[in-house]
């Protein structure tokens, strides 16, 4: 299909763009997405741990508690840095 130049222009109700449309956007969700990926990986460790927990019992629970406590320091830090603020 051949599209003529007038047809290829964006629809702005008849208006036009004085400046170019090539521009950079800010990915505001970026730090939030990074934090999400980090803690999703942490969840991945908990699946094999669940098998070990059946054999080891309370000792494995304490170890996982320590692991989670260290990771939550990261959450608290990120929170303080304003990662959860939509800016």
């Amino acid at each position: 299909m051949v599209v003529s130049n007038p047809q290829a222009t964006p629809f702005l109700g008849g208006g036009s763009m004085p400046t170019h449309a090539w521009q950079r956007f800010h990915a505001r969700y970026y730090p939030m997405a990074l934090l999400f990926i980090a803690f999703e990986m942490e969840m991945m460790f908990m699946y094999p741990w669940a098998v070990v927990f059946v054999q080891e019992g309370i000792k494995a629970l304490a170890e996982m508690g320590m692991f989670l406590a260290i990771l939550s320091v990261g959450i608290v830090y990120a929170w303080r840095e304003g990662v959860f603020r939509w800016q």
Partner: protein, 363 residues
């Protein structure tokens, strides 16, 4: 296609005719009444349309925009001039007075087998090539330059949170669905936040001889509801408005309850578009509520209070909120609020300076 499915052809032929309407002066009520016809679908984009309906007189300053919108309708396309004057160069344009009903002419125009209308604009880029380099980046560095005659978007301070994003300028209007007829805005956008707004052309103004009564206020409510994608509620508003025009009793309470149930008020952020209007504070919710009310219009006799400026109300809003705010005023109110403003002289603006020097460099 070798396979012939006659039932499919018949089904396709019964689909409503998609029209894009370029609304000119004093025609919006006629267009809204036409849109109640089930055989016609009033679409929001020319890309979805088969027929261009030019309703009402189009100002000379809007003629280039009309040509652009016409050319954006995919072939095969037709144009019906409904109460408007066709361009001189057109051969045998279809013209109809605004007083006549347009639905049957649109249907016959749509089914008539003929060649598609050619473009009304020359097949050249809207802005000529002025960049340097194979990709038109123009300037020496990554940014700058004027590819296709338009300066690149440059960073500017952000009024919301100080993030320096690329700022782009767009001129929007005058032919958009639910948009005040004739209004042309120049918006400086960063992401979707309106950093500056400027009225380029004021709206055509309210229909002459039409008093601001229940009917016209319901029509304003219908425009806002259509913008909220509540099309069936908008049609209901228009039907009630039409019934009121014929002096039939209207059931405003039921309509109001239906709008409440639809969640329209929840979709409108509280305090959006807050300003003092006709001596009382109002926001978008209170204005919609007042339109659906039965009380006499409090805004008779022009109050001495100056009307708020539309461009001031839009600054700092996101684009969807800005459009909602524009739609939350009646044509009568907008007439005094949207006064054309001169383009600012950007002598001290770094952005424009760099763009300008890049443009000079390209020459």
């Amino acid at each position: 296609m070798a396979i012939a499915w006659p039932w499919l052809d018949r089904l396709a032929a019964r689909a409503p005719v998609a029209i894009f309407v370029a609304v000119g002066r004093d025609a919006i009520e006629r267009v809204e009444d036409l849109s109640l016809d089930a055989r016609i679908a009033w679409v929001a984009s020319p890309r979805h349309a088969d027929v261009l309906l030019v309703a009402g007189r189009v100002r000379s300053e809007d003629a280039p925009a009309l040509r652009a919108v016409h050319d954006q309708i995919p072939a095969p396309r037709k144009t019906l001039w409904w109460g408007s004057t066709p361009f001189q160069e057109l051969v045998l344009p279809m013209v109809l007075p605004l007083a006549d009903e347009a639905s049957l002419p649109i249907l016959s125009l749509h089914t008539r087998v003929s060649n598609s209308e050619p473009d009304w604009l020359p097949d050249v880029p809207p802005n000529p090539w002025r960049g340097l380099g194979p990709n038109g980046q123009g300037g020496k560095d990554m940014m700058g330059g004027v590819p296709y005659g338009r300066p690149m978007a440059m960073t500017d301070d952000d009024s919301r949170d100080g993030l320096q994003l690329d700022q782009t300028t767009v001129q929007i209007g005058p032919f958009l669905q639910t948009w005040p007829a004739g209004l042309v805005l120049e918006l400086a956008l960063q992401g979707d936040v309106v950093q500056h707004a400027r009225v380029v052309h004021s709206p055509c103004g309210p229909t002459k001889g039409l008093r601001e009564g229940v009917s016209s206020r319901l029509r304003s409510a219908a425009r806002l509801l259509r913008l909220l994608e509540l099309g069936s509620l908008a049609e209901r508003c228009l039907r009630v408005a039409a019934a009121h025009d014929r002096c039939q009793p209207v059931e405003l309470a039921a309509l109001r309850a239906a709008v409440r149930r639809s969640g329209a008020f929840a979709a409108l952020p509280a305090g959006l578009g807050a300003c003092r209007l006709d001596g009382a504070p109002s926001d978008i919710r209170s204005r919609l509520l007042a339109w659906l009310g039965n009380d006499a219009d409090p805004s008779k006799d022009a109050t001495t209070e100056p009307k708020p400026k539309l461009s001031g109300l839009l600054t700092g809003l996101e684009w969807n909120e800005a459009w909602l705010v524009i739609s939350s005023f009646t044509p009568q109110q907008l007439h005094g609020m949207a006064v054309p403003e001169k383009a600012p002289v950007k002598g001290d603006d770094n952005t424009t300076n760099s763009a300008r020097s890049a443009m000079e460099h390209a020459h």
